[in-house]
Symmetry: C2
Subunit: 293 residues, 2 copies
């Protein structure tokens, strides 16, 4: 298919590459022109704007940092909607606020563009391997049309969760759970440390039971080795938790614990730890005790 791909950051670049490998024809765009080089070398066309990337494309994919970027790139001057023809499918794979998805979706509808929101989980390694998890909301027929040929070339799973915005709501739930599961091991293992029990032994003793989690197996070894190379950065988790709280405030959902973890992460951001992996939340407990797990 002819795909316009906009946003070639850490995630977008390998995702676009996997679409090229799958035999799609890509026209790519990024505000940082240098980000396009690798893709152009690999066989993609270079676009001069988002509008240009969208023109004549059957499918437009956006992979951008947050809600304002998506609004600008889709709705703004020289944006997707100026270029996209009627019937084009817009797949916004950015992780943004669900209500922003719905706002953008309305404008798309008025122009005959069919939008789905399809944020991903899995981070850079899974983007490279093409094994991301995609959570989708919006036009079900459009989803079915792009699922096999496009989404599953970048991802291992793609689940349709409901109306437009449902993909991002699902992603926010994911980020709330991950944040609290990281807080759980940080809080628990600091208790072990302060009580004089070797956290490594505690890990071995409890990982197979009800306390076990993907976070525990992925992050506790990192915390014990003091290896906070991302992975997924604290600053990005701050963005997602802010979006979760904004959404929660709009729909009346209480997030008391997530709000507290957001405060912890924000405190770490101001300490200069924003580019650490989110497992560096353990450092917050370290600041409070003067010890590291």
């Amino acid at each position: 298919m002819r795909i316009g791909f906009i946003g070639l950051g850490i995630m977008g670049k390998p995702m676009a590459k996997n679409l090229l490998k799958a035999g799609h024809e890509l026209k790519v765009y990024d505000v940082v022109r240098g980000n396009m080089e690798e893709l152009v070398d690999a066989g993609a066309w270079a676009a001069g704007s988002a509008k240009d990337a969208a023109a004549q494309a059957e499918v437009v994919i956006t992979m951008l940092p947050n809600s304002p970027h998506v609004k600008t790139v889709v709705l703004g001057k020289d944006g997707v909607l100026e270029g996209a023809g009627e019937g084009t499918i817009l797949i916004d794979m950015s992780s943004i606020a669900p209500l922003a998805s719905q706002e953008v979706g309305k404008a798309c509808e008025a122009r005959g563009v069919r939008m789905i929101d399809a944020p991903v989980s899995g981070g850079e390694p899974k983007a490279v391997d093409g094994t991301l998890a995609v959570m989708v909301g919006g036009d079900k027929a459009a989803f079915e049309q792009v699922k096999e040929e496009i989404l599953l070339k970048m991802a291992a799973t793609a689940v349709h969760c409901g109306k437009l915005g449902a993909g991002n709501t699902t992603k926010l739930v994911n980020q709330v759970v991950v944040a609290l599961n990281i807080a759980a091991v940080s809080e628990g293992f600091m208790l072990a440390k302060m009580a004089g029990v070797d956290p490594e032994l505690v890990y071995q003793a409890i990982r197979g039971g009800l306390a076990g989690s993907t976070v525990m197996d992925a992050k506790v070894p990192m915390i014990l080795e003091k290896n906070f190379k991302p992975g997924f950065k604290i600053d990005l988790h701050i963005k997602d938790l802010n979006n979760a709280l904004e959404t929660a405030h709009q729909v009346g959902a209480p997030l008391p614990l997530s709000a507290e973890v957001l405060e912890m992460m924000t405190n770490l951001h101001f300490d200069g730890n924003g580019n650490d992996d989110h497992s560096a939340l353990a450092k917050y407990y370290g600041k409070l005790t003067g010890e590291s797990i």
Copy 2:
């Protein structure tokens, strides 16, 4: 071996039965005399007191509700230390405060009784199957002596984590992590519900990713079915979180999120939900929103 087994509640009864099945000779005691019947029918001797159960035993096992019960049964009148001979091994399998273990251990040492603390994780089903996880602190030689023949007749794993009290510290870490992982799914899935996205679809979309956990797979289906049959009761988790906070306050570990979950569980206790499974923490979020996940 000749084993005195004290405390035949929901957990103690099946654990004692597995020891009988393994060919050990048991003398059992419980303050509720009726609790002894099943074991006596299965071939155990009935003791008239904890002292009586401990007399002539090579190993004494206690499986009691909380720290005060262990202190009374071991140190009190007609207690274990009045009956136990020098060299007896005391295995306290109750989940109690680590400092209480150390206090009891000191009195044992003065009488030549070798103590290990060995709380379990896994609940009644795993107690019946003999597949509990045991976390152990204290006399390492005593641990090695009873590991194969006794502990692994009741459990699938038994890990030595450090000095006396380390077993209970490890159990508290386990309970902190489990409590926060339950809070994570409660908070996350209520966000999905309030935002109008089907929690069942969210579960399918995120369970395979970084948000996945044993708690998610064990408890989210229960929460979605509104099935809060225990499992592990809220009232017992309240006890464990109180012990965790007491310990944390003594060693200088911060448990801000666990303290908040304890408040939530305590609120549910006063609503009459203390005998519900701990996954009923979701009901707290239900009270705040007037909706159920």
